[in-house]
């Protein structure tokens, strides 16, 4: 059924820390690796070694430059995958019932054997979270690694999405955002987690933690370099060849 459930028992999702993401794309690679070898159709590539390569990815890392009104520009790496929205517009537009939101944990999934590949769900998603696989002709999206998080064949430490498990800078966190006492909910409360495109009314479950305030050393009036006094020029009047050259060039 592509009607959305009125309530889900859990709201499993990701919290992505824009402050600590270093933009290494390890999550992109581990996502592609896990999801091409496990649940559903593989994530195909077209012309992978040719002149015009492209392929299906469930997670991509953008990089943005943000220029404040005053001070230096910041570079912010921005991983983006399905946000498992509460009011997921991709689910309700699906004509076949292939897209659905699970009542037990809120994960948005695609039943690939029902998908006709019309692409309307990708049109309805504001985040670009869904990609049609060019080889398979069905819609692919993040499953929140549904085949890892409940998988008792894996060691407990691995029962989280592949991207979270892989992230070397701990910029990705996984948990139940419907439980105010969960670690992820506390993190969101503490760091002021935010929705992407809130005006689209999708109520995303995934939250983004904004970058912390940056140091502003370059703008500070006070000299904070404690070595500076020792590095001050010793000779105030120059002598010798370089002095002559300097003066001669000045006069020209």
């Amino acid at each position: 059924m592509t009607q959305l459930p009125t309530h889900t028992e859990k709201k499993l999702g990701l919290v992505i820390d824009l402050d600590t993401c270093v933009g290494c794309h390890a999550c992109v690679i581990s996502c592609k690796g896990w999801n091409t070898e496990n649940y559903g159709a593989p994530l195909s590539d077209q012309d992978p070694y040719g002149a015009d390569p492209s392929g299906t990815f469930l997670n991509r890392v953008h990089s943005y430059e943000v220029q404040p009104a005053q001070g230096d520009a910041q570079l912010i790496h921005f991983p983006k995958s399905c946000l498992h929205c509460e009011d997921a517009p991709c689910v309700t537009v699906c004509p076949t019932g292939a897209s659905y939101k699970r009542v037990e944990d809120g994960i948005v999934l695609v039943n690939e054997s029902d998908c006709i590949g019309c692409g309307l769900c990708a049109w309805a998603c504001p985040y670009g979270a869904r990609e049609m696989d060019a080889a398979e002709g069905v819609m692919k999206k993040c499953t929140l690694c549904v085949d890892r998080i409940y998988n008792e064949n894996l060691p407990e430490v691995d029962r989280e999405p592949s991207c979270v498990r892989t992230c070397p800078s701990n910029a990705r966190h996984f948990g139940d955002l419907g439980d105010p006492n969960s670690d992820v909910s506390k993190l969101v409360a503490e760091r002021g987690g935010m929705d992407l495109m809130p005006e689209q009314g999708t109520k995303p479950v995934n939250q983004y933690l904004p970058p912390r305030l940056k140091d502003r050393l370059a703008q500070d009036e006070d000299q904070i370099d404690i070595l500076a006094p020792y590095l001050a020029p010793v000779a105030t009047e120059t002598k010798g060849f370089l002095s002559w050259l300097d003066k001669t060039l000045e006069k020209l």
Binding site: H62, E65, T96, I116, P210
Partner: protein
Amino acid sequence: MHPAPSVIFFSTFSGLGFGLLIFLGLGMPATTGFSAFIFFAIAYLLAVGGLISSTFHLGHPERALKAFSQWRSSWLSREAWCAVAALVLMAIYGAGLVFFGQRWTIIGLLGAIASLGTVFTTSMIYGQLKTIPRWNSPLTPANFLSLCIAGGALMAGQTTAAIILLAIAGAIQVATWLRGDTAFADSGTNMATATGLGNIGTVRAFEPPHTGTNYLLREFVHEIGRKHAQKLRIIAIVLMAVLPIFFLLIPFNHIMALLAVVAHVGGVLTARWLFFAEAEHVVGLYYGKR
């Protein structure tokens, strides 16, 4: 949005076909026998041909029957139901006219309503999308429906009605363009809300996630041809409304009527191409594009 030829042809020709079915269902013109057969054959060729061409863009057309299951939430599913209802009802109604010389008024009326419903549900597939501000407006169904009815009147040879309806459709088309031009800015979605970084400063896309292209860019970020948009709009409105009205106003003959139909179809195809090519999906913001 990528202007896929299959969807442009589908929406143009099926719109025209269902428009003709609406007038046939209402008994305009009140033909029977062979003349009715010709009218119904043309309408079915257009409507069914359009529907078939729409399946060309599916990844798995063999599963298309599943699309009837989600009418509670999905406009695409509702469209499938309306189209089948319209085609079945009008087939029964048409058989009465062609083979029995009988006009079963109620069935014709229901068929006309279902035909109108088909075009309305088609337009709502686009009109419902908040992600494409240019389409997300009551003007989208108004645009599709007015063109469908005007085209139907033209095909059904209802000269007086066609002149008025073409003028209305043309006016709605212009209004749709004018509103659409500011829709993206008015939607409130921009790079600041897309990234949530707007409160720090001005956001600029620094580096895309990949060196190559991808499905999202191919499907949603279509920038080719926009520079000719104004010229194409003039061509579209002249072909779709101005010329057909001119051909209908001069004393009637079949050549002029044919020219009016050809011009109208050319105009609607151009407008429909623009409908897709000019539409900007908010996901383009993540790529610093629109």
